[in-house]
Symmetry: D2
C-alpha cells in the first residue's frame, strides 16, 4: 500500500510532527510506502511528490513549518482539477491520502471523497476555529509566543507609564487573543466576536493607569469597534499603495493616545506567531493526530477527520468537520472580563 501526505494553507507549528507520525507508523506498523506531495493540493495536481523514509522524518519533530511546503491551490478552481488528481494518484499508485489543512484544504478533501478518492483529514488551524475538535495543533504555540511577548511588554510599559496595544492573529475568532490575554494578564482583551466600544476601552485604560499599572490591550486582528469605524486591516494597501502593517492595533493605539493624553504604542506580532518549534503540547497533539490518521487509513474509514475530544482522538465526518466556524462563545469572553481595567 502507498499512502500520500500533503499540507495545505497557512503553515502552523506541528505540521512536521504529523508528517513524521504518519510516515513512521505507516512504515513500521503497516509496511506502507509513504510519499509526500509538495505544496498542498498543487502536489497531487501536478504529480510533484517525493518518497518519505524514516530517515527523512526522524529529525523533523521539533521543526516549525512543513518540509512538504504549502500553498492555497484549490483543485476545484483549476481546469479539470479533481480529474487530474485522480489521474496522478493512479499513476503514482497512491491508494490513500492524508490531507493536513484547514477549512479550505479539508473542504477539498471532502469533495474528493465524494468523487471516490480515499482521503483522511487532519485539522490544522492556528486560530483554533474549527468546530469539530477541542483544539488544533499550532494554537498552543501561537498562544505561547504571544504570551511571552506580553510578559516582556509589561515591564517596558510600566517603566514608561505607557499603554501598549498588542495585535495578535485571529481574523474571525478571538481564541489567541483570549488565551494569550488571560495568560499574559492583559488589562483588556478584544475579539472579533464582540464589537468593542472605544469609550469603554479608554475607561478601562484610565482605571488601569489610576491603579498605577500600565495597561496592556490584547486585540485580535479581526476585532472591530462598534459602528464599524473604517479600520484598515493589516496586509491591506494604504494610500501610498504600500502593504500596511498592523490594522486595528495601530488604529486603537492612536485612539487611546488621543483620548487619554498618555503615550500609547502598538506592537504587531505578525508572522512570529506562526513559526518555529512547536510547544510540547502541540507536538503531542500533532503526533497523536498523525498516528490516528494512520489508523483511519488502515481501517479504510475515509471521508473522516481526526479530532480531539477531551483527551481522546476520535473520527468525525469531513462533511461535519468544516460545517461551522468555532468562535469564542459569549460566556468564555464574559469569564475573562473580570480582569479588565
Amino acid at each position: 500500500m502507498r499512502v500520500g501526505v500533503l499540507t495545505g494553507g497557512g503553515d502552523c507549528p506541528g505540521l512536521n510532527a504529523v508528517i513524521r507520525a504518519v510516515t513512521l507508523k505507516g512504515i513500521q506498523e503497516h509496511g506502507w510506502e509513504v510519499v509526500g506531495f509538495r505544496n498542498g493540493w498543487r502536489g497531487p495536481l501536478t504529480g510533484d511528490s517525493r518518497p518519505l523514509t524514516a530517515d527523512d522524518v526522524e529529525p523533523i519533530l521539533t521543526r516549525g513549518g512543513t518540509i512538504l511546503g504549502s500553498s492555497r491551490t484549490n483543485p476545484y478552481q483549476e481546469d479539470g482539477g479533481p480529474g487530474r488528481i485522480k489521474a496522478v494518484l493512479a499513476e503514482q499508485g497512491v491508494d490513500a491520502l492524508v490531507a493536513i489543512g484547514g477549512e479550505d484544504t479539508l473542504g477539498v478533501a471532502n469533495k474528493l471523497t465524494d468523487e471516490g478518492v480515499n482521503v483522511v483529514g487532519v485539522p490544522k488551524t492556528i486560530d483554533n476555529d474549527l468546530g469539530a475538535t477541542d483544539y488544533t495543533f499550532g494554537f498552543d504555540t501561537a498562544v505561547h509566543i504571544a504570551t511571552e511577548a506580553i510578559d516582556r511588554l509589561h515591564t517596558t510599559a510600566e517603566s514608561h507609564h505607557r499603554a501598549l496595544v498588542v495585535e495578535v492573529m485571529g481574523r474571525h475568532a478571538g481564541w489567541i487573543a483570549l488565551h494569550s490575554g488571560l495568560a499574559g494578564g492583559a488589562s483588556v482583551i478584544l475579539v472579533p466576536e464582540t464589537p468593542f466600544s472605544v469609550e469603554q476601552v479608554v475607561q478601562w485604560v484610565e482605571r488601569r493607569f489610576e491603579r498605577e499599572y500600565a495597561p496592556i490591550i490584547v486585540v485580535a486582528e479581526g476585532a472591530l469597534p462598534e459602528g464599524g469605524a473604517e479600520v484598515l486591516q493589516s496586509g491591506e494597501k494604504d494610500a501610498f499603495g504600500h502593504v500596511r502593517l498592523g490594522g486595528v492595533g495601530t488604529w486603537l493605539a492612536d485612539e487611546i493616545a488621543t483620548r487619554t493624553g498618555k503615550e500609547s504604542r502598538a506592537v504587531v506580532l505578525g508572522h512570529t506567531q506562526r513559526g518555529g518549534t512547536p510547544t510540547a503540547y502541540d507536538r503531542v497533539l500533532a503526533t497523536r493526530f498523525g498516528l490516528h490518521a494512520v489508523d483511519a487509513v488502515a481501517a479504510g474509514d475515509f471521508g473522516t477527520m481526526v479530532a480531539l475530544r477531551g483527551t481522546d482522538i476520535v473520527r468525525v465526518k469531513l462533511a461535519e468537520a468544516t460545517a461551522e466556524l468555532k468562535t469564542v462563545p459569549p460566556e468564555r469572553y464574559a469569564e475573562a472580563q473580570v480582569f479588565f481595567g
Copy 2:
C-alpha cells in the same frame, strides 16, 4: 462574606494564578474579603493568615510556586485538628474555603465538608494523576521543561555516540514521561504502569545506535524493571547514609552501559520540573479553575471540586474526585511504542 484560600502539598506552576483569580473575582464581582492561609492546612489550624488585596495578587500570575507557602500538614493527624480549624474559621469570620491541592489536601477538604465546613476544591497535581479532571495545571509546564531538556540532550548524545537516560517525575503515573517522551522524540519511554524488560530496552537502544542515532530513554521515576530488581529510589538514603539523587534512571544507565558496551549517562531533572513561571496553557487553566471555584462558592455548592472536561470547567463531588488515581491506560502507552527503537 469572607473567603479563605490555601495551597497544600508539593508546589506546582499555576498555584499563584489560581490565588489571583479567586481574589480578583471574589473582590470585584462579589465584594468579598479574601484571606490567604499560610502553608496548607497548617494555616487554618494555627490561624496563620493574611488579607489578600487586588494589589497583592496583581503581579503573581507569572510567578511559580505559591505566595501562601505550602506544607503537608494533615489536620486529621493533629490533636483536635478539625475542631481547631472550625474554631479558627469562626474566629476569623471566614465563611468558606477554597482549598488548592492534590489527593491529600482534597481528601481533608472532603472530610471537613462532612463536618460542615464550606469548602470548594481546586485540583493540583503536577503528575496529572487525578481521575476526575482531564488535566491539572502544572503538568503542561513540567512536560515543557522536560521536553526542552530532551531537545538539548539529543545533540550532545549524538556528538558523542552515547545513550542518555532522562529520569522525569511520576511516582505512580507515567504522564510526564509519556508526553515529554513523545514531544522530545524519545527512543524509549518507560512508565510506572508497565514493568519494563531490560533486555527489550537494550534491544531498542542497540537498534537506535545501528540506525546511527543516539538513543534517549525517558523514564518516570516510578518505573521498575520486570521482576522488581532492587532499584534504590531517588531521595532514599544509600549505603553511605546520603540521600541519593536519581533512582531508576541512574540504575538503567549503568545497565545499558554494561550490556551494550556503549557510553551511557543519566540525567535527573528533579526539582527544575516544578519551578518557575507556568506555561500559557497552565496559566489559562489555573485562572479558569480559580474563576469557577468562585462561582461554586457564590452558588454555595460546597463539597465540590472544579474539573476540566474537554474545554469546559465543571464541578464534581470531592468524594468522587479523589477516588482513584488516573494512570496511563495501556492503549495510550501502546500508541507511543511505534517510536521505540
Copy 3:
C-alpha cells in the same frame, strides 16, 4: 552616607540588576542609606524619592524595566533645573548619585559634575552605541529576542516560499541588526552606517530563492536606501495622521515584492526587544556595573562612568564617555557579508 540612584531614558533589561547591586553593596559593605529617585532626572528635580532596602531590591534581579520608572526629563531644559537638583539633594541629605542612563542622562551627569554634584554614571543603551565601553547591558537581551524571532521566521518563510523582512532596533547604529542577523543566519543585513542598494538586496534575495531557501532580511530601523528614498520612519505620522508602525522594513518588503514578484512580508519587532527578563549575560554585566559604581562612589571618584573593557570593569571620565557614538565599523560589516545571498 546617603546615596541616590536614578534611571533615565528608554528602558532596558538589566536596569533593576544595577539598582539591586548598588543597593545591596551600598548597604552591606558600606552601611549607606540608599534612596531611589523616580523617573530619571525628574526625581531629583522634584524631590520624588523612596528609600531602597535590601528587601525592596532582593526580588528584582530578573525583572525587566526599572522599578524607579524613567523619563526623558532634562534638568537643563527646566527653569533653574540644576539648582533645584542641588537643593533637593541637600534637603534630602544625599551625598552622591548613581545615574544610570544613555547619552542624554550621562550628559546631564557630566554637567552636574562640573557644578559640584557627586555623580557616578552607569552606561545604558540597548543599541550598544556608547563609545567608551565594549558592551552595555540590554543589548544581549535585545539580540537574543531578535534572534529567537528570526529562528521562528525561517520555517514559515520556507514553507511559503516567501521573503521576510525583519525590522529591528537601531536608529544610528546597526549593532542589533548585525548580531541578530549573524546569529539568526540572515540572508541580508542592513545597517544605518551603510546606505543600501535596493538592486543589490534584490539580487541577494533572488539568489537565495534560487538556492531554494527563503530569504530573511534583517534591517535596522535607521538603515536607508542609497540616494535616500523617502522612507517614512516607524513612529512617524503617516498621511492619515496615524503613528506608523514599521518604516524601512515595510517599505523594503514592498520593494522586494514588486521587483521579484515573490511574496514578501515585514515583521517589526518593536517594543518586544526592550522588555522582559534580561539574559544571564546582561544580568552579570549590569550587576558588575552596579558593584563597581559603588566602588567609585566609595572612592570619591566622581564624574566617572563604569565601563567594560574585555572582561574588566574600568572607570572612564564622563566627559569622554559620551563624546562619540560607537557605530558598526566597516570591517565588522564586511565580515558578515560572506553570508549574504
Copy 4:
C-alpha cells in the same frame, strides 16, 4: 586548496556555527574545497572524512553538538599517529586543518605544527578556562541554561522553605558557577579555586532563612570543602559499582540538612548544560572565530589560534594558548560575595 575541519573533546553549543562559517567563507571567498574529518583526531588518523558543501552547513547554525562527531582520541598516544595523520592529509590532498577543541585538541594541534602540519586552532571549552581568550563559545549557553534552572528553583524552594543546592559544570574553574550564580541571584556560590568552609556555608544558609528567603547554593562540580573531606565526584563509581550522579552537590545538601535541620535538596544539571541550540552570543562568537580562522589559513599563519580580546578577534600562538588554565581570580570571587547569605 583543500581545507579540513575537525572537532575534538567534549561537545559544546557553537561547534556547528564554526564549521558553517569556515565552510561558507572558505568556499565563497576563497574557492576552497572543504572537508570535514569525523570524530576529532580519529578522522585524520583513519582517513574518515566527508566533503562539506554550502548546503550541508546552511541549516546547522542553530544546532547544538557537532555534525562531525567528536572523540578524545590523541594521535600521540596511537602508534605512529602523527605520521599517519600526515599520510592521510597528503593522500586526501588536504593542505591545512582547522582544529576546533580544548586544551587536549589544541595541544595536539601545536605538536603537529612543529612537525610541519598546517593547523589553525579554534578554542572550545564550555568551562571558559582557556587563558588566551576572553571567552569561548558554549560558555554563555551553559550559563544561560544554568540560570534558567536557578530561576525556576527559587520559587519551589521558597514555597517549601527548603534549601536547594545546584551542582553545575566546572571541574577546575568556577566560571559557570560564578556567572550563573550572579545571574540567578544565588545565596552562595562555591568554586574549585577556593576550598569552602561548611560552617560558613551553613551560616549563610541560616541567615537566608532568617530573612525569609530560601537559600540557593550554586556549586561547581570541582569545588571542595576545606580539609578535603572525601567527596565522591559525579561520574565516579560508588560502593555499589554504579556511576554516581552528583558529587559535591549531593554531599553538601546532606550536610546542610543535617546541620540546619531544614529540608535541603540537590539538583545536578549535568548534560543539559552542554546540549541544544547555542545562545545568540555564542552563535556570533563561534561564527566570528570560524571566519577569522579562514583568514589565518588564507594568510598562511599556521600554528596560531583565534581568540577574543575585548570585541576583537586576534591570533595567538598555539604554544601560548594552552599554556595555562584560566581560573576565577580572587577579586572576581570576592566581588560576588556581597550577595552571599
